[in-house]
Assembly symmetry: C2
């Protein structure tokens, strides 16, 4: 089984990045579907392919990968709507870190998971060659077909089963989604006080750069690990105007100290 073309079911951030990379690598995108026609058409124009907002008009094509790139909660419903496309030469895969591959088995004899482990925003380009792609398929032949496609996109392709993918996804939420939220908290605190967020950008860059080849426990700095009690108290007092941030500050400061088993000043 060889996959010669892809139909993108979805036109959000992840679909844009995967679609453009597939297109660049010479893999034919046969169609884009989105329930929002303007989104489907915008991506279709990028990929020189037709677009539709009607599931009934999604093309029945052999040697085609139907890539479900929709929000986690929409995958099962979308699979049901696509059931009419089932055929022995068609593969159905979703791109979710959180949803088991098994949800596609009910409707499709050939299915898998094609999960790019990265934070993808539509208007920011990224080199997908460096993005880990985590694949899963029960059927070795389907796995092989997905693998052959994935290695054309990325230098880092891994076989990751449902359980491991779920673990990865939870961890990814902590390191990406939640860190990004903390960046936004920092920005809001500066904005509210008339200070430029540019002052913090080098710090954010270095925070991550440290982790390219080091482990985060060893890179921990700041008042919590130094046990600067007076500073922690002063910060908490300043944060009284932000009860939610104050609560978070208290919780994470405590957790850093727990993680490093610190009881008192060295």
């Amino acid at each position: 089984m060889q996959l010669k073309q892809v139909i993108l079911i979805g036109a959000g951030n992840v679909a844009w990045h995967l679609g453009r990379r597939l297109h660049e690598q010479g893999i034919r995108i046969a169609q884009v579907y989105s329930r929002q026609l303007d989104h489907a058409e915008a991506l279709g124009r990028q990929l020189a392919c037709p677009a539709t907002d009607q599931t009934g008009q999604i093309l029945p094509l052999d040697h085609c990968l139907y890539l479900l790139i929709v929000s986690d909660d929409a995958i099962i419903e979308m699979a049901t709507q696509l059931a009419f496309l089932e055929g022995p030469q068609r593969v159905f895969a979703h791109t979710s870190g959180a949803v088991p591959g098994s949800v596609l088995v009910k409707h499709f004899s050939r299915s898998g998971v094609f999960y790019p482990l990265q934070t993808l925003s539509k208007d920011r380009s990224i080199d997908l060659a460096n993005v880990p792609i985590c694949l899963h398929a029960d059927d070795p032949e389907i796995y092989q077909a997905l693998y052959e496609l994935a290695v054309r996109l990325s230098d880092h392709v891994f076989q990751i089963d449902d359980q491991a993918r779920k673990v990865l996804h939870v961890a990814a939420v902590f390191v990406n989604n939640f860190s990004n939220y903390l960046f936004a908290v920092g920005k809001q605190i500066l904005d509210d006080n008339g200070l430029s967020f540019d002052l913090l950008r080098p710090l954010i860059g270095e925070t991550a750069a440290k982790i390219t080849d080091r482990d985060p426990e060893a890179m921990q700095t700041g008042p919590a690990i130094r046990n600067d009690q007076q500073t922690i108290i002063a910060h908490l007092r300043f944060l009284q105007q932000y009860p939610e941030y104050q609560n978070l500050y208290r919780m994470i400061t405590h957790a850093i100290r727990e993680m490093h088993h610190q009881k008192e000043l060295p």
Copy 2:
């Protein structure tokens, strides 16, 4: 008043980075003090200067900046111990983001703050030229002396008063210390499940790279902002084995949704 030499009071991470940069830029380091003699000596060897662990043996030198690079809680006590060094041609500054400049006024007629806004780990080199240095001194002549020194170290020198520096420091704790803790949480979750942290390193790099020229609110991705309820529930269930992380997950997921004023699926 021109500062011709520096005595480092402290031999921790920040002292290593500032000391090496000062030395590289041709500024004389006259001495290193640390209450741990081996730490003082190790840094002294790097900087080709004498070391001591006795405050009484710190050299009385004119045109000298005494840079107090000790933990926040130790600054006042250290200033008291250094009071005997007070003189009209000597400047005393601390490097803390959190401690007001005024704590040095009691003992020294010429004092200020010299705060590098970065996360500095001893065994990781960094280009200090890109690190914002935040200066404060009530006396314009002292400010000018500190400024002339700082611009030899960094291309980004700012006049930041005590209140603004405190705000910056709180924000820095969120974007750096707390993000780094989240990276450690991600690593622990992977470690516990036999997965390599290398899988997450590209994601961490991109999480920060996005923020070099964009604002974090616009870069938020993940189940919270997409309102993937089933995924959030599955993650919380997985995190039952980590009650502290589960609590943090719940809190930040809620906060992301509050920040983006989301009530239901679009």
